[in-house]
């Protein structure tokens, strides 16, 4: 049975109808078959347009970077660049729609942990040869190509390294006399104080229960010594019922249920919702990455400026060091359906090359991957917490099915919700979740 394009388009209508629509309406009706050898004089790709998807919300710094990058690209190749910004939580659905409808990007930014899942869907182009032939890429340390290499083929280039830390209101901490928390206990105390002084509708430490909740939950369980699942004897074994996992999970749900440092009415907010509330002066602390500072500054229209925000590494329970956080990072990859793979390759080489790759990371609040640039970073006060956390960072279960547990079924989000609402105790909730997680991870 061959499912035609019409069927695919119909199937995605629901996705488009609710406002994920930007993709379909991009249609700058390009009939252009790649005419690589068209113009003898002048830039090789003049007149062509390259569609680039960036993730996140654009801000002035990022727009400036993209403008510089695209101008340089046009100078080199003569091709125009059409940039589209996709919010992180929507990215999965947008890529799905793009694959289904065939109207996708040529080059797209990627979360490095997502590469494996999308390679298994045939979404990305193999760029092994390109990587080998580029002197710039050879400077990026080998251990940073882990997520991108599948069956010894490379499908994406690392663009910037990132991990999560806690973004907090520096000015509130100062005026309320709060020190940067060194233990979990101090974290809760700081949160309580903020709620008490700033009002009940303010989240002292915002609870993330939305699509990217596990980014926020994981530092707590990892720090307590737990993990989500382990690959043992040829299959995935859920570890949610381990006492260590339970300790972290219990602490995370108690942020809402017991200590009330986050509002009970906002159980399904994701990191984007929280950052918007942060910009509105309704959040004291939350777990996120360095890119949020610039976005929040812009969204708050001057109400929350750069010097009112800062990061600290989430401490482990006893306060002997930073808690392990999600080891993330962003990649840049060539979409399998790219109209002109050669042009896309040129763009990738330029964007992730040393000059623009380093600028991308620095200006986007990420860690640069080129060793000499990274060395400068450890002394930067804004970036130091990330550099520190990066050393102990960890990843989620490396199964292509993890996305289903995290996204479609939202296993842990629902477990946390039922505990907070008092429908189940933590033991029952985790036992149920564990069973479900194992089923999902082990399915074919």
């Amino acid at each position: 049975m061959k499912f035609g394009k019409i069927a695919a388009a119909t199937a995605t209508t629901t996705a488009l109808a609710i406002g994920v629509a930007a993709c379909g309406s991009g249609e700058p009706a390009k009939t252009a078959d790649p005419q690589a050898s068209a113009a003898a004089s002048g830039p090789k790709y003049a007149g062509q347009t390259l569609n680039v998807w960036r993730l996140g919300a654009p801000n002035d710094v990022q727009n400036k970077y993209m403008a510089d990058l695209d101008a340089k690209f046009k100078e080199q190749t003569g091709a125009e660049v059409n940039v589209q910004w996709i919010p992180w939580p929507d990215a999965q659905k947008k890529w799905t729609a793009a694959l289904a409808g065939g109207e996708g990007p040529d080059v797209t930014e990627f979360g490095n942990d997502q590469v494996a899942a999308w390679v298994s869907q045939d979404a990305l182009t193999d760029i092994s040869d390109l990587v080998k032939s580029s002197p710039d890429f050879q400077q990026i340390p080998q251990n940073l190509w882990g997520y991108e290499t599948i069956d010894s083929k490379v499908y994406a280039a690392p663009w910037g390294g990132g991990t999560r830390a806690v973004l907090y209101r520096k000015d509130w901490f100062k005026s309320l006399g709060i020190e940067v928390p060194k233990t979990w206990e101090e974290l809760v105390a700081a949160g309580k104080k903020i709620v008490e002084k700033k009002g009940k509708d303010v989240d002292g430490f915002a609870f993330n229960g939305g699509s990217d909740a596990n980014m926020s939950l994981s530092p707590f369980v990892w720090s307590a010594g737990g993990d989500f699942a382990a690959f043992e004897g040829g299959k995935w074994v859920g570890k949610l019922t381990d006492p260590a996992f339970k300790e972290g999970f219990q602490f995370y749900t108690d942020l809402v249920a017991k200590s009330g440092v986050s509002g009970k009415s906002r159980l399904s907010q994701n990191s984007v919702d929280i950052s918007q509330r942060f910009a509105a002066g309704k959040v004291g602390m939350y777990v996120t990455g360095g890119w949020d500072i610039a976005t929040i500054k812009e969204q708050s229209k001057g109400k929350v400026s750069e010097d009112q925000m800062a990061f600290f590494s989430l401490p482990n329970k006893e306060g002997s060091g930073p808690a392990p956080a999600f080891q993330g990072g962003n990649d840049i990859a060539i979409w399998k359906d790219a109209k002109s793979p050669e042009l896309a390759a040129e763009y990738l080489k330029l964007a992730a090359g040393k000059e623009y790759g380093t600028r991308y990371a620095k200006e986007g609040g990420l860690l640069p991957l080129y060793p000499d640039a990274l060395a400068e970073f450890a002394s930067d006060p804004v970036q130091a917490p990330f550099a520190e956390t990066f050393k102990v960072a960890k990843g989620f279960p490396a199964s292509p099915n993890w996305a289903e547990a995290n996204d479609t079924k939202a296993v842990l989000q629902n477990a946390a919700r039922s505990v907070i609402e008092g429908k189940k105790d933590a033991d029952t909730a985790l036992a149920d979740a564990n069973k479900e997680l194992e089923t999902i991870l082990n399915q074919q």
Partner: protein, 338 residues
């Protein structure tokens, strides 16, 4: 009952079309045989329906028997594996199916009832109002109907916001004794409305009824205008009470209108999606799924299981078709009696 309506209908239109029909022969100059003409005229409509509705519907049913992921629907697709009824067995075995079905049906029953009753009452009111006032009210309520579902949902989400919402503020304004008497509590600050499925659906019912009763009201009003006023005069002379007049005259005469409105409302309310998606805050709260939202989540969240999602959608469609078919049959039967 049946008699009155026959009189009304027959008196209205039986003679006119007959006369028109007698003018037809001279016009027949197209050269087509007579029996072709109706089909030729139907053809464009049928084509549009076939392309936009029947083909996708066929694809959906077909997908529901296959394992369809992204690889199978890409521009150069791989063949989809035939699963037989596997997708359906999985749907029926899933706990989520039963909660979603329960949510869907309960919501539809309550909402359809409230929409029809509310809409009819407003329709009757509009009929009584003077011309200016009635126009004013119609414009007002039609604005609610014309509001896009996303906007409706966001407005209601704000109204029911735990901290800054008008609803909690208003409930707090109630005298404590009254509030405790009715709700068993007096402090409403920070009351979360959009966590628990029950309260999410409460807000959803309010939002959907608010947006859909105007259509019913205006349709009922149009129906009311077509009832000859002599009937009401006769009823008044006979000393009939308003309720009795409604039961014996208005309702029987408007029965065809109500039938259509009921079927439409059932269909609309069974497949409500946008408002629920917004109110539940995305797809993480799976206790509050209805069948549409569940189908969407399975089909489009990573990793997409479109065959499975299609199976859910087929089940939803079949349920709606059964309800509609039973009802339409009933209508047709009553028409036959006449």
């Amino acid at each position: 009952m049946a008699q009155t309506s026959t009189v009304a209908r027959g008196g209205g239109d039986s003679s006119a079309p007959a006369r028109r029909r007698s003018h037809r022969p001279p016009r027949r100059s197209s050269g087509l045989p007579a029996w072709v003409v109706p089909y030729a005229l139907l053809l464009p409509g049928l084509l549009v329906i076939a392309v936009l509705l029947l083909y996708p519907l066929y694809q959906m049913v077909d997908m529901s028997f296959h394992k369809v992921g992204l690889r199978q629907i890409r521009p150069n697709p791989q063949p989809a594996e035939f699963l037989g009824l596997d997708n359906y067995t999985q749907v029926f075995q899933s706990d989520l199916f039963w909660t979603s079905l329960r949510n869907t049906v309960t919501f539809a029953v309550i909402t359809v009832a409230l929409t029809l009753v509310g809409g009819t009452l407003v329709g009757l009111l509009l009929h009584k109002l003077g011309k200016k006032m009635s126009t004013f009210v119609i414009v007002g309520i039609m604005a609610a109907w014309a509001t896009p579902p996303t906007a409706t949902a966001i407005i209601w989400k704000w109204l029911f916001d735990a901290d800054a919402g008008v609803v909690n503020w208003a409930l707090n304004l109630l005298p404590d004794w009254l509030s405790s008497l009715v709700f068993g509590r007096s402090d409403w600050s920070g009351q979360p409305w959009l966590n628990d499925p029950t309260t999410i659906y409460l807000v959803l019912i309010v939002a959907v009824v608010w947006a859909s009763f105007p259509f019913i009201a205006v349709s009922v009003l149009a129906g009311l205008k077509s009832i000859p006023s002599e009937l009401y005069e006769a009823a008044r002379v006979d000393g009939s009470t308003p309720t009795r007049t409604f039961r014996k005259i208005t309702f029987p005469l408007l029965k065809p209108v109500f039938s259509v409105l009921l079927v439409l409302s059932v269909i609309w309310d069974f497949k409500v999606f946008t408002q629920l998606y917004v109110l539940a805050g995305g797809t993480t709260n799976r206790d509050s799924f209805n069948l549409s939202l569940w189908a969407y989540t399975e089909a489009f969240s990573a990793p997409p299981k479109m065959g499975f999602g299609a199976a859910i959608a087929v089940i939803l469609t079949v349920i709606m078709l059964i309800i509609t078919a039973v009802y339409v049959r009933q209508i047709v039967r009553t028409e036959d009696v006449r």
